[in-house]
Symmetry: C2
Subunit: 156 residues, 2 copies
DNA sequence: TTTACTGCAAATATTTTGCAATATC
DNA sequence: GATATTGCAAAATATTTGCAGTAAA
């Protein structure tokens, strides 16, 4: 991650903590650093490991707690995948793409599309103030589609 | 649920089981009936209870197994919410709406919008065959927004 | 000095697995 | 009759909670 974006995120976290009268602990900033080291989805265990790699120890409980704070601060968003654990992602990255989820093999591909983003941002809803959009497109990836067609031919 | 739709779903399940050479057990159809009794989201425990209410007993393991089958059959879809358990929904219902998720209070509101649906269905992606769309709009509901504004006034 | 936060251990919740009994094909 | 499926119990995994010690304000 470029340092300009990182500083921006760190600053917004500091502002949030000040506003909410929460404490600025070393652990919270170490976890934020870990979060920023991912460019895609991650879960609690991946994040915990990433922080260990950076030679800083925080307990798993604190990682759970801090992710709640980061979600509330709007720095991180959570996702559903077929994985059993909750997946997180930096909101700054998440708002840049939609997800293509293959229901045959479970693969997830991210697509950036200004057209989709523009449409989503223009959606107006009564009695609701939108902030962030998450679009999952479920279907079949080309690999699986080809595989299925090969199998059909063999049966014939 | 109207019986026409129910019959349609049941038939497609039967076709799927035949095609995949899976067995047509009483349990599977009892679970499908339970699934069809929900008009919105449900989780494993809710479904298990619903089936019990209908005086048919199936084990939780079988409910887990069968939901995998129903997902693969494209009859059911899964969702992420802030809940700790996986949420499911009949695909026939899910395709009719998008979700408004309030990040302050966690409430989920469903909205039907032909305009959104039309746009999503028209999306074309290279090397991917779309089948189903899931759009979550995160933001603040009017209740929470009003609450926040009242609090700000009090501080002043 | 006050008390929010951390880390640990234990509790709880959720999902998966192994296997004997059973029911479908 | 062969074997996929079920139900149970146990295991594995994920998350939450209680609390004593620590550190931010």
């Amino acid at each position: 991650m470029d340092s300009k974006l990182y500083n921006e995120i760190q600053e917004s976290f500091t502002n949030y903590l000040t506003e909410k009268k929460l404490r600025k602990t070393e652990e919270r900033y170490a976890i934020l650093e870990g979060v920023c080291a991912f460019t895609g989805h991650f879960d609690i265990v991946m994040l915990h490991n990433k922080i260990k790699e950076a030679r800083y120890y925080v307990s798993k409980s604190t990682v759970y707690n801090t992710l709640e704070v980061l979600l509330d601060a709007g720095i991180v968003v959570s996702h559903q995948t077929s994985s059993q654990s909750v997946q997180y992602e930096l909101k700054k990255y998440a708002e840049m793409h939609s997800h293509l989820f293959c229901t045959k093999c479970g693969s997830i591909r991210e697509i950036k599309n200004a057209h989709i983003k523009g449409f989503l941002n223009a959606i107006k809803v009564p009695r609701f103030t939108p902030d962030f959009y998450s679009l999952y497109i479920y279907g079949t990836c080309s690999k699986c589609k080809n595989k299925i067609q090969r199998e059909k031919k063999q049966i014939k």
